[in-house]
C-alpha cells in the first residue's frame, strides 16, 4: 500500500479547474518529484494534500485513510508536513522560534521542543549563527533552510516541499538538495520543482503535470529519455505518454 495515494483529484478555484483528475502514488521511503510548468497545478496538488485547498472530487488517501476535506491543522497532526511556496517564515519571529513552532502538531513540552530545535541546527549548520535573528532579516537561502527545518520539526512521515530551489543561487540550490538527500533516509518526500535536473536528481519517481493533468510518470531515467519532458517544462503541448 502506498503511503500517499491520490485518485482522480479535482480542485477548482471558482470557475477555474486547477486540477482535472490527478492520480499519483507515493511509496513509503521514496522521494517523488512533481514536475511541470508554471500554472500546471503542482502547488495546488500539495495544497490539496495539506488541506489548504478543498478537493471538488476524487480522493486523497494517507496510510490507507481518506484525508480529503480535513483541515490543515488535522492533516499535519497525522504526519504530513507542508513547506509551502515562498518559504513563509514568520518575519517577526526569530529563526529558533520559527523552527520551534514547527513542532506545534505534536504534544511535547517547550523545553523538549527547544532541545529538538537546537539539534536541528546539526542538519542545517549554515543557519545556526542566525538562531536569534528575526525572519525578515534572512536571505532567500537561509529562509529556505529555516522553512525546511521547521517542516521537519513536525516529525513528518511525509514531507511536501514546494519549489525549494526557487530564486536561489545555484550553490545554495545544491546545498538545499544535499539536505533533501539526507532527509530521505527517514522521511518520504513529495517534491515540487521547476528545476527538472535538480528535481529528478534526488527522485525515485517523477510525474509531469500539465494544465491540471498528469501527462507522464516514471523513473528518472525513463523521464530523461522522453523528449516530451522538455516540452512540458516550457509549457508546450506534449501529448506523448510514456
Amino acid at each position: 500500500m502506498p503511503l500517499l495515494e491520490i485518485r482522480n483529484l479535482v480542485v477548482r478555484y471558482g470557475e477555474i479547474e486547477a486540477l482535472r483528475g490527478v492520480t499519483i502514488a507515493v511509496e513509503q521511503g521514496q522521494v517523488v518529484t512533481l514536475l511541470g510548468a508554471n500554472g500546471a497545478g503542482k502547488s495546488t496538488t500539495l495544497r490539496a494534500i495539506s488541506g489548504l485547498a478543498k478537493p471538488a472530487s476524487g480522493d486523497i488517501l494517507f496510510d490507507g485513510h481518506s484525508i480529503a476535506g480535513l483541515g490543515p491543522e488535522a492533516i499535519v497532526r497525522l504526519g504530513i508536513s507542508h513547506v509551502p511556496e515562498g518559504r513563509r517564515v514568520f518575519p517577526g519571529l526569530t529563526v529558533k522560534e520559527n523552527i520551534m513552532l514547527g513542532a506545534s502538531n505534536r504534544k511535547v513540552g517547550a523545553s523538549q521542543i527547544s532541545r529538538e530545535a537546537d539539534a536541528m541546527f546539526d542538519l542545517f549548520p549554515d543557519i545556526r549563527a542566525f538562531s536569534n535573528a528575526l525572519g525578515w532579516t534572512l536571505s532567500g537561502g537561509q529562509l529556505q533552510m529555516v522553512a525546511v527545518a521547521r517542516g521537519l520539526m513536525a516529525k513528518p512521515r511525509l514531507l511536501l516541499l514546494d519549489e525549494p530551489s526557487l530564486g536561489l543561487a545555484p550553490v545554495i540550490v545544491q546545498a538545499v538538495f544535499r539536505i533533501i538527500s539526507q532527509i530521505r533516509k527517514d522521511t518520504t518526500v513529495l517534491l515540487v520543482e521547476q528545476n527538472a535536473r535538480m528535481g529528478l536528481s534526488v527522485a525515485d519517481h517523477g510525474f509531469v503535470l500539465e494544465t491540471g493533468r498528469i501527462v507522464l510518470g516514471g523513473k528518472p531515467d525513463e523521464l530523461w529519455g522522453n523528449e516530451a519532458i522538455a516540452a512540458a517544462y516550457l509549457g508546450g503541448h506534449a501529448k506523448t505518454h510514456a
Binding site: 507542508h82 509551502p84 513563509r88 519571529l93 513552532l101
Partner: protein, 291 residues
C-alpha cells in the same frame, strides 16, 4: 514645578487607561486585521458589571472585581463567536460593521437596563490618597498605574517568553502558515478576544471611580485609545502603551494650562498633527513584519 509633577502623575494615570484599551485594539487588530470598534464598550460593560455586583448586590469589592473579570473573559468568548467568527472568511468591511453594530447594541442594552443616569462606583481603597512632598497621589490613580505596569510586564512575558505567545504572534503574521504547522488559528483568535476583553474590562473597572459609569464612557475612552494607537504607530504594542501615556499627559497639561472645556479636543489635535506630519506614528509601522 509642583503643579507640573502633579499634572504628570494625573496624566500618566489617565493615560494608563488609554494604554490598556489601546493594547486591546492592537492585539485584536494584529490577530484579525480588523479594528474592533466595540473595544470601548468592553470597558463600559465591565464597569456596569462592577455596579451590578458591588453596588446593586453589595458584594465585597474584590469579589465583584474577580467576577467582573471572569465575566469579561466569557464576554470575549461570546463576542468572538457572535461577531467575528461567523464573518472570519469575509473581507474586513463586514467585520468592522459587525463590531460597530455590536457597540451600538451593547450601549443601548445597558441604556435599557440602567437608563441614562450615570452610576457611581467607589474606588478600591478607602483612603483617598497620600501626600508625597508637593504631589498628592490619588489612590485610584496609583492603582491604575500599578496595574498597568504589571500588565505591560505580563504582556511582554506572555508574548516574548512563552510558546503560546509565539503561536499568537505567528497567527497574527501568517494564519495559513500557522495552520499548516498545526497551530489552531481559531483557538488563537479566541484567546486574543478573551485577553482583549479582560484588558478593556480592567481599564473600565479601574477608571470607573474616576469618571462616572455611563453608557458613553466606552466611546470616550475608545476614541482616545484609538488616537493613542495611531500616535504610537498602528499595530505596534509598545506604540499603543507609549501613545496612550503620551495622550493622557498631553490632555491633562492642555486642560490645566490652556483650556478645561477643550480637554477632549487636545487628543484629537495631536492626532491630526500626527496624521499630517508623521502618519506612521512614533514607532512607525514595521512594514517588514507585515510582509
Amino acid at each position: 514645578m509642583d503643579l507640573v509633577l502633579q499634572l504628570l502623575f494625573t496624566g500618566i494615570g489617565i493615560g494608563a487607561v488609554y494604554a490598556l484599551v489601546a493594547l486591546g485594539f492592537v492585539l485584536i487588530f494584529r490577530a484579525t486585521n480588523v479594528v474592533n470598534f466595540a473595544q470601548g464598550e468592553f470597558s463600559m460593560v465591565a464597569a456596569y458589571l462592577m455596579v451590578v455586583f458591588s453596588v446593586d448586590l453589595g458584594w465585597p469589592y474584590w469579589l465583584s472585581f474577580l467576577i467582573a473579570l471572569a465575566g469579561m473573559a466569557l464576554f470575549g468568548v461570546i463576542f468572538n463567536l457572535g461577531v467575528y467568527y461567523p464573518l472570519r472568511h469575509r473581507t474586513y468591511l463586514p467585520v468592522i460593521i459587525a463590531t460597530i453594530g455590536a457597540s451600538i447594541l451593547l450601549s443601548n442594552s445597558v441604556l435599557a437596563i440602567y437608563g441614562p443616569q450615570p452610576q457611581v462606583l467607589q474606588g478600591w481603597f478607602d483612603t483617598p490618597g497620600i501626600q508625597l512632598g508637593p504631589v498628592y497621589l490619588d489612590s485610584q490613580y496609583l492603582l491604575i498605574i500599578g496595574v498597568t505596569i504589571l500588565l505591560v510586564l505580563f504582556n511582554f512575558w506572555f508574548f516574548e517568553r512563552t510558546l503560546l505567545g509565539k503561536k499568537l504572534q505567528a497567527t497574527s503574521q501568517d494564519k495559513e502558515m500557522a495552520s499548516l504547522l498545526g497551530i489552531s488559528v481559531s483557538t488563537m483568535i479566541m484567546i486574543t478576544f478573551i485577553y482583549s476583553a479582560v484588558l478593556g474590562g480592567l481599564a473600565g473597572i479601574l477608571v470607573a471611580p474616576v469618571l462616572f459609569v455611563s453608557i458613553q464612557m466606552g466611546s470616550t475612552i475608545a476614541l482616545k485609545a484609538f488616537a493613542a494607537t495611531i500616535i504610537g504607530g498602528f499595530g505596534d504594542v509598545a506604540g499603543a502603551i507609549v501613545g496612550g501615556l503620551a495622550l493622557g499627559v498631553i490632555e491633562t497639561f492642555g486642560a490645566a494650562y490652556i483650556s478645561v472645556p477643550y480637554k477632549d479636543g487636545f487628543a484629537f489635535l495631536v492626532l491630526i498633527a500626527f496624521l499630517v506630519f508623521r502618519p506612521q506614528g512614533i514607532f512607525g509601522e514595521r512594514v517588514a513584519e507585515k510582509a
